[in-house]
Structures are given as C-alpha cells and as structure tokens.
C-alpha cells in the first residue's frame, strides 16, 4: 500500500492524510489495549489486598457462638460501654474472611447489625458502620451482597453532617460497589448519584477524597458506559448531574487545590472520558482549559522540586488531556475550546524530564499527549521546534522500545507538516539518531524509523546523500527479509538510489 503510493506521482496532501489516518487507527488500538490492561492490573492488585490486611492483625477468627454472643451483647447489653466493646470485638474478628463467612451465614445477623447502624446511640452506630466496612473489604461478592439491606441507610447518612461517619459510609459504599453488580443494581435506583452530587458540596477534604474513591469505583463498573454515565438514564446519570462541573472545579489549580482530592477526581474524569459517552459535553464544561492549566501547575511544582505524590496526579491528567484531544469536537468547535496555550508543550517537557529521572514508566503517558498535541496542530509542532525540544526528545530514545516508537511518532507528526518543518529537523542530530534506531531489533521501532525517513527524504531530499554516505543502505538492507518491513525498506532503497 505504502510502496504503491510511493510509485505514483500523487500530491503530498494524500500521503499526509493516509499517515494521519493510520496514526489515528494506531492510537485507537493502543488506547484500547491500555484500557484492557487497566482491568487486568486492577484485579491482580486486589487479590493482594487480603494478605496485607491479614498481616499485623491481632484478633483471632471468631466462631459462630462468639459472633452470636457479641451481637447479643451489642444489642441488649446493659451498659453502653459494654455494647460498644462487643461491637469492637466483632469488628476485629470480621477482619478475617472466615469470620465474615460465619457472620453472614448466621440468621438475623445482618438485621441486627442494621438495627445497630440505625440506632439512637451515636457511638454504637459508628461501630456498627465500622463492622460493615470490614465486611465490605471482602473479595467475595456473596458477602458484599449480604450487605444489601444496609445500603439505603448508608446513602441516607451521606446527607448528614458528621464528616467522619460520612467518610466511612463512602468508603464502605465504594468497596461494595466494586465487588458486586447486584449491589450496583440496587444502589442506582436507591439514588446514589443524586446522593453523591449533594455530598460533593461538603467542605471536608476527607469526605471529598472518600467521595472521589466511591465515584471512581462506580465509574469503573463494566456497565458504566451504558447505564451509569449517559444522559439518557435520567436519575442515575452521572453526566446529567452536577458532578462533572464540581469535579472540574476541584481540579482547578490555585491555593484551594487539594492534591489528594484532585487525584481522585482526575481518575474519575479519566474513566468518564474513556467511556467516550459524551466527551464534547465535558469539553463544553471547560475540561480542556482546566486540565491544561493544571498541567502547567504540575510542571511548576516539579520545578520547585515538590514531590508530594505528584506522579499520582500527573498520570490521570495526561491521560484525560490525551483522550480529550482526539475528540472531533475539539477541531470543529471554535478556537475558544481548543487547548491553544503553547506553554503546555514546555510544561510537558518539564514533566518528561522529571519522569526520565524519577519514573520512566510514565514517559509513554507524557509522550502520548505530545503525540496527540502535535498530530493535527502545526502550531504545536512549531512550538516544539522553536523551543529547541528536538534534542531532548531524541535523548529519550534509548529508554525503551515503547518510548522509542512514541518519540519517532511525534517526530513523524512534525515532519509530515511539510518542508518548512523538515528543514528544521535536518541538518541536525536527527539523522544520526535514525541510523542508530535502524539498528534496533524491534520491528515497531524500525518501522517507525522508516516512516520518518520517508518523510525526511520527501521534504528534504538533500538528506538522502548524507544518509547514503553514512552507510544508510546497509542499515536498511539488514531488514530486507522482515515481512512487516519489506515493502517500506524496498521503497526507501529505491528513493535513496534514485534521489
């Protein structure tokens, strides 16, 4: 396909379109793969949790008789301290999965616990809620489902005023949401979305963090894109509520920004965007400019060498921006909605440097954003060139194959913008770097290098001579036999020899 294009004399525009289209397909495929990766890593990590919970746990497993006794004491004890103590003992026992099983199999146990949860004794209420929270930690959906009778009360208490209690209810709800679809099927008609929308106005940071957690679990549900996020499902719709606006408010940089809270809502936003239900709506709420400003803020924080769990916020913000930029709406909706601020490129490079030193695994995230910024925007490509960022970009090539492919893709984005851009790319360190990457064994890296070479030769024919002088042909011929690369290698050889 590519070599055919090479043979005919077609105007350069078509070639560019083709590249752009292919790049978009690649992007979509990568994003899909990553999304699936998300699910896998989540499950793996949750399996580790019980072992962590087990360590350092002092209490023993409780038997049926003991559970019954504690429940009876909690319900009918003479003194409040006694009742509270019984619940504390029960809670400690419930840290063990075996006790949890025993508890739910005991008849009337949940009913008693719910009774205590709704009792007129505040401290008993709190301890009962803690017992529920222990149960919510379970990995088994049967245990989560056993907690169903309590959910309407947990939701009711979200509109209360006791911030510790609300926080506990939120974490409990979040845990239950993850474990069982049956729980979610009950919580949605019970009004969890309006309850969360009301709760998000709380001034307490701990409550907001807990809310972000619960919401993020709800948004990761497999049925979320159809049943939870869309506008159509009126009462349970996230997008129809005031939640998106509040979330964006909490992501606005400034003195009021709380990192812990921002992290939770950045991830929530990421899940909503990934569902691709209605991203133009989010863009309409100002998501792009808020996130862009936040990115600038993060870069600033990095330069001041404030660590404070920065990476935790960087990853979701980068992803949100990257994904939003692929929305067609960004291009069609007028200039005001587009992320026009070229400081973003500088900020991004500051972050890339930071990742390079501290967290190389996040480099692909940053490069992904750079790719989406440069793909369709000549002005961002210009920024890249005028800020002299090509060399720093090339320095990232040795990190890993994935990073190499992305760096090369970004450079292709710049090169395909035309001769004026290629002139800034070469002469320079680019050609030696390409000759180097041609020596890699990874097919994708080599493939992307070939694409870049093609563009370079197209717009800067003088580069061909230098390429040949530096034994470029031999480098090419090394990959002649490779099935995926054959066509491109041959076409490039032809160009080089003709030119």
């Amino acid at each position: 396909m590519w070599s055919r294009r090479q043979g005919r004399l077609r105007p350069t525009v078509c070639a560019v379109e083709e590249l752009r289209r292919r790049r978009r397909e690649q992007e979509a495929a990568l994003r899909k793969a990553r999304r699936e990766q998300q699910l896998v890593s989540k499950r793996l990590l949750r399996e580790d949790a019980p072992e962590e919970a087990g360590e350092g746990c002092v209490a023993a497993i409780l038997g049926e008789a003991e559970v019954q006794q504690f429940l009876r004491q909690a319900q009918r004890g003479a003194e409040e301290k006694e009742r509270e103590g019984a619940l504390i003992s029960l809670r400690r026992g419930l840290q063990h999965p075996e006790t949890q099983q025993t508890f739910i199999q005991l008849e009337g146990s949940m009913r008693t616990l719910v009774g205590l949860l709704t009792s007129n004794q505040a401290l008993l209420q709190l301890e009962a809620a803690r017992c529920l929270h222990e149960l919510s930690h379970s990995e088994q959906s049967t245990i989560a489902e056993a907690c169903l009778p309590a959910t309407s009360y947990l939701l009711t208490y979200l509109s209360g005023h006791s911030s510790d209690f609300i926080e506990l209810c939120l974490y409990t709800l979040g845990n239950l949401i993850v474990e069982s679809e049956a729980v979610r099927r009950q919580l949605l008609p019970q009004g969890i979305v309006p309850a969360l929308a009301a709760c998000i106005q709380s001034p307490h940071v701990a409550v907001l963090e807990a809310l972000g957690y619960a919401l993020s679990q709800l948004l990761q549900a497999k049925e979320a894109p159809e049943k939870i996020i869309p506008l159509a499902s009126a009462s349970s719709s996230i997008l129809a509520s005031t939640l998106p606006q509040h979330m964006l408010q909490m992501l606005q940089p400034g003195p009021k920004l709380n990192p812990g809270v921002a992290v939770e809502f950045a991830w929530c936003l990421h899940y909503i965007i990934c569902s691709q239900v209605s991203n133009p709506l989010l863009i309409g709420h100002g998501a792009l400019s808020t996130l862009g400003l936040l990115l600038l803020d993060l870069a600033g924080a990095v330069q001041r060498t404030e660590d404070a769990g920065l990476e935790l916020l960087a990853c979701p913000v980068l992803r949100c921006l990257s994904n939003l930029l692929t929305e067609a709406a960004v291009e069609t909706v007028g200039g005001q909605m587009q992320l026009r601020d070229e400081r973003v490129v500088a900020a991004l490079f500051i972050l890339l440097q930071f990742f390079f030193q501290k967290q190389p695994s996040l480099l692909p995230e940053g490069l992904w954003l750079l790719n989406n910024l440069t793909a369709n925007s000549p002005s961002f490509c210009t920024s890249l060139l005028s800020l002299d960022l090509i060399e720093p970009l090339l320095q990232l090539l040795p990190v890993s194959n994935v990073v190499s492919v992305m760096v090369l893709t970004v450079l292709c984005n710049v090169a395909e913008k035309g001769p004026a851009y290629c002139q800034r790319l070469w002469p320079g360190p680019l050609l030696p770097a390409l000759l180097h990457t041609l020596a890699f064994s990874d097919t994708e890296v080599v493939g992307q290098s070939l694409e870049l070479l093609h563009l370079l030769f197209l717009y800067q024919p003088e580069a061909v001579q230098v390429f040949l002088q530096q034994s470029g042909l031999q480098a090419l011929e090394r990959h002649q036999e490779e099935a995926q690369l054959q066509d491109r290698v041959c076409a490039l050889r032809q160009t080089a020899l003709q030119g």
Binding site: E52, Q125, H137, F165, G191, C315
Partner: protein
C-alpha cells in the same frame, strides 16, 4: 505503570481507613445540650453524637433525624396543618430519595414507591406513617406509633418541658380532623405492622428491646 501506582495508593488509603483511629483522649465531659446525659472522653465521639442526636432536631417534637432533608419532610408532614389540608386535594407526600421528584397522595403510596422503584427496604426506619394520637389508644400503642417519620433517633431523655402546646395542638387537630383521615392512618399503621408480620404486642417487644 500509572494504573499499578494508582491501585497501590488506593490500597494504602483503604488500609488507613479500616484501622480504627486511635482517638485522642480528653478528660471526660458531658454533652451540653439540655436534657442530654451522655459523657465522652474523645472529641470525635462527641462530634458524631452531636451531629447524630442534636443536629437535625425537630423543634416541635424533639425527634432527631439523620439529615436536614428528612427533617424538613417530617416537619411538613407532621406539624404543618396546611399540609394536611392540601394533601386531601393533591399529592403532597414527596419521595424521600434525593433527586426524585415524585409526589404521592398518601404516606402508604409513597412507601410503595420507595420499595418498588427505589428498592428500599420495606421496614425503612425513616419512613413510618404518622398516626394521629387518639385518646382511646392509651400510652402503650401510642409508643409504637411514635416510631414514625424518621423517629429512630430519640435523645436519651425527652425533656419533660417538651412544649405541651404543640402536642396539644396535634391532639385538638386530630379531634377536629375528619374521622376517615384518622381511620386511614390507623389502617396504614396496621398494614405496615402486618407487612412486618407482627402484632401490636410483638411490635412493642421488638421496639423496647432495641432501645
């Protein structure tokens, strides 16, 4: 990877929440609200107690509610005579779920809606129908009926000085009220108890033991 980081962070957060906080202890002090006899030695406990029992309290009948939303509904349905009049002509009983704008003719209809549409438990504590006090049914059943609209949180000792005026008002109103309204309420409560599968006496036993 970013996701791995995210989940490690979450695990940390969840472990922190699960370990019960070590409360900083202070010298024991009593709740200052009139008539409340609770004593505390930790500020967090007191805060929760205050919000739960003295936060959203009905000024007429001193009942406490978990939220302002439920308190408002209670005052409207229990203590607003205009509400009673209007409810004979139009649907006034608002659904208790925040965000749901449905209204109903009777408390019973609302409960049906809560159970069917919102999957609420049949014995939801914060929605028991109000029964007007009748002088014939003395203290004993009167007690069980008190478990109405969001009543579950009573402060530990009802102040004796609870204004007799509102209570008196209610009683005279119930006398004035059309007898069929009273009958409807009785039937409501009976049917609620029937759903619970109890008789009056059994209901009392359960309620007393849960105090």
């Amino acid at each position: 990877d970013g996701d791995v980081q995210r989940h490690l962070y979450l695990q940390d957060v969840l472990m922190q929440v699960a370990d019960a906080p070590e409360k900083p202890r202070v010298p024991a002090f009593a709740c200052q609200v009139a008539g409340c006899c609770q004593v505390f030695d930790a500020l967090d406990d007191y805060e929760h107690h205050y919000h739960t029992l003295h936060g959203n309290v009905c000024s007429f009948c001193k009942r406490a509610f978990p939220s302002g939303h439920l308190l408002d509904a209670h005052i409207l349905e229990w203590h607003d005579s205009l509400f009673q009049i209007l409810s004979e002509r139009q649907d006034m009983y608002q659904c208790l779920v925040e965000g749901c704008t449905e209204k109903f003719k009777t408390s019973r209809d609302r409960k049906d809606h809560l159970v069917r549409m919102h999957l609420y438990p049949v014995d939801f504590r914060f929605d028991k129908p109000k029964k007007s006090r009748s002088p014939t049914s003395a203290e004993v059943p009167g007690d069980s009926e008190e478990r109405s609209e969001g009543e579950a949180m009573e402060i530990c000792s009802e102040p004796v000085a609870a204004s007799p005026a509102p209570a008196g008002e209610r009683r005279t109103y119930s006398h004035r009220s059309v007898s069929k309204l009273f009958l409807k309420h009785v039937l409501n409560v009976c049917s609620v108890l029937r759903i619970l599968g109890c008789t009056w006496a059994a209901a009392l036993l359960i309620l007393n033991s849960e105090r």
